[in-house]
């Protein structure tokens, strides 16, 4: 019996698909990657929730009863509620103009749209200070008219818009380019105007790419730290978003509370990932079913 098995083994080992590695190598690779992911991705996530509840559920809940925290949550939602729709509209119009038409400077435009992804968020905040700050271009005029942008909510909204506007566009442009304009052209020949064409023909085709972009845009908008840090002024209860509030709590050694707020954002991040995966899956299905 053992002899038969021994005979089997070398045969199994020799038989290997031409395009794959030996099992040993595969296992080693997978283990290394799993360990790497566990260390760098999973562990931080686990720690957030662990620390959030380290002082128990009561402390966790009490954190959100605090006025400053509640305000931070409200502000974060407000900023996202303004920035995301604005950037979505921008993303759609930019994707339409770039993917459906040829014109000079098109690739320059695409590069320009990618810009905020390359700039440090702090530099992003900096340039807005240079325009709207007390010593900035519009500084004197704003002061004269008693309008506060920097160190106030409008500034936060502006930099958030700056930092997150590429996401929807970047999700849509390659998608709409790949899909081509055939169906829209057909719609045109059938007498549809621009709006009808968009609503009835384009939108159904791009809906998953749109969802994908919106989710990423939202996640970044709610989580933005560097740029908002520069323009916010960190005024407790007034100009702190959740990420900034986390920083304050952390610096004041209220670790459990800091992580409590962080855990909400982490949960949001996980939710975003889930929706993103769902959107990708649905999109793949759409591709298979309609072959477009």
């Amino acid at each position: 019996m053992a002899g038969a098995i021994a005979l089997l083994k070398p045969r199994m080992a020799a038989r290997r698909a031409a395009t794959s590695e030996s099992l040993v190598i595969k296992v080693i690779f997978i283990t290394i990657v799993l360990a790497f992911f566990a260390l760098f991705l999973v562990l931080p996530l686990v720690v957030v929730f662990q620390e959030a509840f380290s002082k128990g559920l009561t402390v966790f809940l009490k954190t959100f009863e605090d006025r400053a925290t509640a305000h931070a949550v409200w502000l974060t939602l407000l900023v996202a509620a303004i920035a995301v729709p604005l950037n979505t509209i921008f993303g759609v119009t930019a994707a339409w103009s770039i993917s459906r038409f040829r014109f000079r400077g098109r690739s320059f435009l695409i590069t320009l749209i990618d810009l905020p992804l390359w700039i440090s968020p702090v530099v992003g905040g900096l340039i807005y200070v240079l325009v709207f700050g007390a010593q900035g271009w519009l500084g004197p005029w704003l002061q004269a008219n008693d309008i506060r942008v920097i160190f106030a909510i409008p500034g936060i909204v502006l930099v958030t818009v700056f930092v997150t506007f590429p996401f929807v566009a970047r999700g849509l442009i390659p998608l709409m380019q790949a899909q081509g304009a055939r169906e829209e052209e057909a719609a045109a020949t059938l007498g549809a105007n621009g709006w009808q064409m968009f609503m009835r023909v384009t939108l159904p085709k791009i809906k998953w790419g749109l969802l994908y972009g919106v989710i990423l845009c939202n996640a970044r908008a709610m989580g933005e730290f560097g740029a908002v840090s520069v323009v916010s002024g960190h005024i407790r209860g007034k100009t702190n978003t959740m990420p900034l509030h986390i920083e304050i709590l952390y610096n004041e050694y209220h670790f459990a509370s800091a992580f409590a707020v962080a855990s909400v954002l982490a949960l949001l991040a996980l939710l975003s990932l889930a929706i993103k995966t769902f959107a990708e899956w649905q999109f793949a299905r759409q591709l298979r079913q309609t072959n477009m």
């Binding site: 045969r11 199994m12 020799a14 038989r15």
Partner: protein, 244 residues
């Protein structure tokens, strides 16, 4: 080198690809595996090459059981339907590849490689293209380079998967004749897969007709045409009894 297939069966996840297939190819023969798409002929070829493994059955090269041997040990030259040339290497390096990856004990010197490759390029009538990239060649030229590359390793058997499928009619005809002439000259045992019966009959010594994973008939082109074994063969070859 002779090839012998014994009772080979292969299942894919959704369907049985081959069902108890047995036949042999004599040394120096040029045999066509003929059948409609989905008949299992390519699967069979890949099993012979070591690119797939059968659930049941055995493959013998000159009497030696190679069923469990991996592709890179079998020394069966394979020409893919899509050529599968190495895009980032020029023609010379593509053809020389099989020689360069040999174990240092068996590896020929640079001079020998140069000679061998040059001579192969001449055999396939593309002596001037050595420095070109595959992307710069036409379909027919790429096909011939794929040939040259497979021949470089001095294979004992040559396997071709629908080698002329992606080419236009004139190029196909030329290459077919070239293959036949080449085989006449070298007597290299060759097995090729096709769904084109004209091609099979024109080129092959014997034809193996396959449908739905089962062998329908084996014989010389004349034998098969004059004595079709069953209704499928009749139908496939268009040999239906005289109509109205």
């Amino acid at each position: 080198m002779s090839i012998s297939i014994k009772n080979v069966s292969k299942n894919f996840v959704h369907f049985p690809a081959l069902d108890d297939v047995s036949f042999s190819v004599e040394k120096g023969e040029l045999v066509a595996l003929l059948g409609p798409s989905g008949s299992g002929k390519t699967t069979l070829l890949r099993i012979i090459a070591g690119l797939e493994f059968p659930e049941i059955g055995q493959v013998f090269f000159e009497g030696e059981d190679v069923t469990e041997l991996s592709a890179y040990k079998r020394k069966a030259g394979f020409v893919f339907q899509s050529y599968a040339l190495f895009q980032h290497m020029n023609v010379f390096e593509n053809v020389a590849f099989g020689l360069r990856v040999r174990r240092s004990a068996d590896r020929p010197t640079e001079e020998v490689i140069q000679q061998r490759v040059q001579s192969l390029l001449e055999t396939v009538q593309l002596p001037e293209q050595a420095r070109k990239l595959p992307a710069q060649l036409s379909g027919g030229q790429r096909q011939r380079i794929a040939f040259a590359r497979a021949l470089a390793i001095e294979p004992k058997v040559l396997l071709l998967d629908e080698p002329f499928g992606a080419l236009d009619a004139k190029v196909r005809k030329d290459l077919r004749q070239w293959l036949r002439a080449f085989q006449n000259q070298t007597h290299l045992t060759s097995l090729f897969v096709t769904h084109d019966q004209e091609e099979a009959f024109e080129v092959a010594d014997r034809v193996v007709i396959i449908d739905k994973g089962k062998i329908q008939q084996i014989g010389t082109p004349n034998e098969v045409r004059s004595h079709p074994a069953n209704a499928f063969v009749e139908d496939f070859l268009g040999l239906a009894p005289a109509g109205p």
